[in-house]
Symmetry: C3
Subunit: 352 residues, 3 copies
């Protein structure tokens, strides 16, 4: 047996000391290097090959929104690498944070990110932030204002734990799961991102991060959604170019059948449309109309022995039937488990 | 002095890798072995004889309800054995969890235990769960539905931190405290569980776990409660059989005096009656009538130099007078302290 | 290079095993020794010269009120010294605590500090407590009732993380920051505590702790506030005597100009007046009248190249203008950073 040092993969130099806001921050090649590191870490019990690069380090986990998987998987990832996590729930046990510049702070928010972020950076070695969109103004959400403010004012690396626009840690685990179930590699794999019905309007971060990451990995990506919920033409064009450059392709369809036929991966997810921001009177009747946008066993039979994926939490018998979720093709638990390994590889790179 | 290894008690093989849902899961003999291990751990500073069996391990602490003693004592127990605790408050900073099977999840609950529990088990090495009863349907509470769902879907040991029906960690600390104050052993000790007045309906988990554990240890158990709040005949019969088999006895009385006369232990606790579930108009007037069911100094003088116990938190001058609680016979702080040692012995057994 | 042991400062014997409720608990000389230890700890990466005096120890962090800096800086301080922090938010995830003696507990509060505190002391090695004033009865607040109850019933050291009357950890960081920016020492430094406008009534703990600490260090302290918000004569007289004894001085003024002219330090802070407790109809119109009590750049130009301090969180363009806070004279981030180092020196002393 070789000494441990020789098993250890070369550190991912491109991550060292950097923030991780979107997989778009790295090239497709770098992204796939990170996936390889995550898969290697998963082989070894507790990722022993990664060592303890966070020994004596602390990571602040800043939650503007609820979290289960993200909170636990990040905490365990940090601990297994030798560090400590300090969770903070903004507005519950801490002060509400203002992020707009130049504002006269005579309202409800008692602290500005311009102080809070630099101060936190005096105590911790990295900040990981969850900040969902407001779902009120698409122009505001597009700027990813809270994450951008953290990134601007931080003096330590910032890790995105799901912002208004992106959820790159989820995308890492997603592509890692597809790689594990694609022995021949990403090339030629038919991967379908399928819109799902849901009782309320959900953010776009997960589907946007997934589509971008899938394109970066060069799969053949199909996006299926009712016309009213399809992504904008510019966005689709960008992902299409990225996919082409990586040896893949992109098609957008308004029907479910072409997404399922021969697919290797079905990724179900509900998301809202910027068109309906603040207009539930337009959105809710449509959702009643699209109740059949639920993944069921009959549809899965049209796939090429495809796996079923979802980022969780998922509403059973609304987004997907019990039969699919509890059936042999569901990999949602493995997908969630991969969050831990992906984040360990990421952290080990940042703190290399 | 002997080397450390020789001081170390034999691991409790019957606990290894197992869940701990109720003391009824183990035989009376096993229970008393666990008590001995807890008492041995308490002798040594920080339970050094237990070693660090949780090194590199993580335990998720899942709270559906508030906690003070349980949260801190479990966290410290885990840390002193070398591990890390990750607390999660369900519905506050995490997603609300559904536990019913086959449901169409179009309401308030966004995640099902069927995903949440297996996913958490990918990250942590054990799950400890607090899930109080709904106090609305006795049939539902009897099934201990949340705990049962965790136990069913978990792939790591599950530890009950107080469920709808049982609070076995409390019962461990309770019996450990009685053992400490009973130099001659459990046999022949008169232990009285005495109902107490309270401004609102409380769960049955603590008194049920205490009565079961006391029966398993073979004490002479007296249960005193107003007729309306007495446990059901079947329940009493079960405990009575258990007590008999262990060399003890059980009597149920509707008056206070026979519970105090010559008692070695007074364990005060308020609990609700399934008869009054959802019927405060029947319950509250009774409570006004039973305001004298408060432990006072005059009553304690009828005991055989008996100790006063309560699981805490306790309402002063409602459940028990200041005089008793602050007096020389109160062992409530020692009883709470024993939570730490009992849980360390338990965890050391599970992770042996 | 000398062996590490020789670099290590002599332990601060006067702190060992003691509580830290106010800087008034120690002499001016002891206070300055503690500041020197904090500055020495700051020189070394992660305060390596302090060693790991908290190895295997746990500190309970009890929050009755929100916290950001305090929570993170205490947690990191404890961890860097080898220990673990357990945060508890009272009333959110734990039981509401009663602190009055002799009360019949038939209301909302389900647990008394008389049990909760001794019990916590069975699990942890120190308790750090944040308990803001009620701002309803000045007589009650003056007794600092929650902190006093913790101090009375605890069997381990209690550390004040901001009580009704004092915030001594903040005062430590404040004076450490002034010392860092005063190469010639505290003597002869003009330090001005300046009242600031604010949309609501704030506690007095920070300004009271700062004024006391500044007096103990012997600076020339100017307190500027509108007449209605000036501290009482007795309080001012006490601080004045303390300042004189330490070689400094105290003046109280109702105008801003004399506070800024030639000042070396401007410490802005809003606080309420006991006169207006429960009388917003008297307080709020005054605040409208005093809107110009906001620190702006023109005022800072009257200082002797003075630094701007605030304990944070601060309301921008209400308490202080963006220009001052973002300008070269603001030391608020350094001041917050010093919380970490000051608390490490404090904890190292207590656990020496």
């Amino acid at each position: 047996m070789l000494p441990l040092e020789l098993h250890r993969p070369a550190p991912l130099a491109f991550l060292k000391g950097r923030s991780f806001l979107s997989t778009g921050d790295m090239s497709g090649g770098e992204f796939r290097q990170l996936l390889d590191a995550a898969l290697a870490a998963k082989q070894e019990k507790a990722g022993a090959n990664l060592g303890r690069p966070l020994a004596g380090k602390t990571v602040g986990l800043i939650f503007f929104n609820p979290s289960l998987r993200t909170r636990v998987s990040m905490t365990v990832a940090i601990q297994q690498l030798g560090g400590s996590a300090i969770p903070l729930e903004i507005g519950a046990g801490t002060w509400d944070l203002e992020h707009r510049d130049g504002v006269v702070m005579d309202g409800m928010k008692v602290e500005h990110v311009r102080e809070a972020v630099p101060v936190l950076c005096q105590y911790v070695d990295a900040l990981a932030v969850r900040c969902f969109p407001g779902l009120k103004s698409w122009e505001d959400d597009l700027l990813d204002p809270v994450l951008a403010a953290f990134a601007k004012h931080a003096t330590v690396p910032v890790i995105n734990l799901e912002s208004a626009m992106y959820h790159p840690c989820q995308a890492l685990a997603d592509m890692m799961t597809i790689q594990e179930t694609s022995p021949g590699g990403f090339r030629g794999r038919k991967v379908s991102l399928v819109w799902a019905n849901h009782p309320k309007a959900l953010p776009l971060a997960v589907p946007q991060s997934f589509a971008l990451a899938a394109a970066q990995c060069g799969v053949d990506l199909t996006i299926a959604a009712p016309k009213e919920y399809m992504f904008g033409d510019d966005t689709l064009a960008n992902w299409g170019e990225t996919a082409l450059a990586a040896g893949g392709s992109l098609q957008a369809v308004y029907d479910r059948a072409p997404a399922f036929d021969g697919a290797h991966v079905i990724y179900a997810k509900s998301w809202s449309s910027p068109k309906f921001y603040g207009k539930p009177e337009l959105d809710l009747p449509l959702r009643a109309k699209y109740q059949h946008w639920q993944v069921v066993e009959e549809e899965m039979q049209r796939t090429d022995d495809g796996v079923f994926m979802h980022c969780l939490p998922v509403r059973r018998n609304v987004v997907v039937s019990d039969g699919v979720l509890d059936g042999p093709h569901s990999v949602v638990v493995r997908q969630a488990a991969n969050r831990l390994h992906a984040q360990k590889a990421l952290l080990a790179g940042i703190f290399a």
